[in-house]
């Protein structure tokens, strides 16, 4: 569901029309476009991949059953996400195993952000770097592409409060535009950007700590 492979609205309409007639190829096309993304997004709300798969399956069922009501006012992507997140949240609650950092129970709280990287107010160099950030372009390319680093980022994601995780997943992993994220999550543009900023700050920091090892 990356932005560079977004289908045009007309193409989506055509797929939906074909899906209405029970066309299996239309379903396969949709599943290959959106299935992996729905699966990752389900994991924002449920505990394990088995539950996530159930939720994705229920989502498609909801799509089949609701397809005649889909008016195409929202994009298909947003509609899928709405169905999915409703079902996933319900499943998460029912299992009573929603992750500790779920949207429902993790407050945003105070966020120190990058404060500790700068000289504090009142000092001569207030607001300037305590130590200059490294130039990562000097690193061997494979370091930034390694599976190990992927795992580091994955782990950092699990430490984020639920709302930050939702926003950074939709924006940076799934490549959604900021407007779509705002609509899907029902948050303001400013709030969305604050959450994204906090989340990216932590992910960058996790990578930095890993690079320093």
């Amino acid at each position: 569901m990356s932005s560079d492979v977004l289908p045009t609205r007309e193409f989506e309409q055509e797929l939906i029309a074909r899906l209405r007639t029970g066309d299996e190829n239309a379903f396969i096309e949709l599943m290959d476009r959106y299935g992996a993304s729905l699966f990752r997004l389900a994991l924002l709300y449920v505990h394990d991949s088995g539950a996530a798969e159930d939720v994705v399956q229920e989502t498609w069922l909801g799509v089949f059953q609701g397809i005649d009501r889909f008016a195409g006012r929202s994009s298909l992507k947003t509609w899928l996400f709405t169905i999915l997140s409703n079902r996933a949240k319900r499943r998460g609650e029912r299992d009573n195993r929603t992750r500790a950092f779920s949207t429902f129970d993790t407050p945003e709280g105070f966020d120190e952000g990058d404060l500790d990287r700068f000289f504090p107010p009142g000092t001569e160099d207030a607001g300037h770097w305590k130590s200059i950030p490294d130039d990562w372009s000097l690193l061997p390319e494979e370091r930034l592409a390694s599976d190990e680093l992927r795992a580091v980022v994955d782990q950092a994601m699990t430490t984020l409060p639920g709302t930050q995780r939702e926003v950074i997943t939709l924006r940076d992993i799934e490549g959604w535009a900021s407007e779509d994220v705002r609509n899907a999550l029902g948050i303001t543009e400013t709030n969305q950007r604050v959450l994204l900023h906090r989340a990216r700050t932590k992910v960058r920091r996790a990578i930095e700590e890993y690079m320093a090892q």
Binding site: D135, S178, I207
Partner: protein, 93 residues
């Protein structure tokens, strides 16, 4: 080597500090800045290799995240979803 603007560059006091710039990085990437904010941001970047490195680090972090989105659906999951589709088509549920 200094990552900071030199003191004599801060003539009108309107340049951002590194800390202020870092707080604006997401606004910058999203193009959510006024023209004057953007001007001050770029002016600081021109002078500060530390902040340039920081900006590149954030970009790298975003591209690592983006790669997490490249994974395909596991084959078995895909098979099961296809079966569910066929069941729905046959029975309507």
């Amino acid at each position: 080597m200094s990552g900071q603007p030199q003191t004599d560059e801060l003539v009108d006091g309107s340049l951002l500090t590194c800390e202020e710039l870092v707080a604006l990085v997401t606004d910058y990437f999203d193009g959510a800045m006024t023209e004057s904010e953007r001007f001050r941001f770029d002016a600081h970047l021109d002078l500060c290799n530390g902040c340039r490195n920081h900006l590149e680090q954030v970009k790298s972090a975003v591209s690592v995240l983006h790669r997490l989105g490249d994974d395909d659906l596991p084959t078995e999951t895909r098979e099961r979803l296809l079966l569910a589709f066929r069941t729905w088509k046959r029975t309507g549920k």
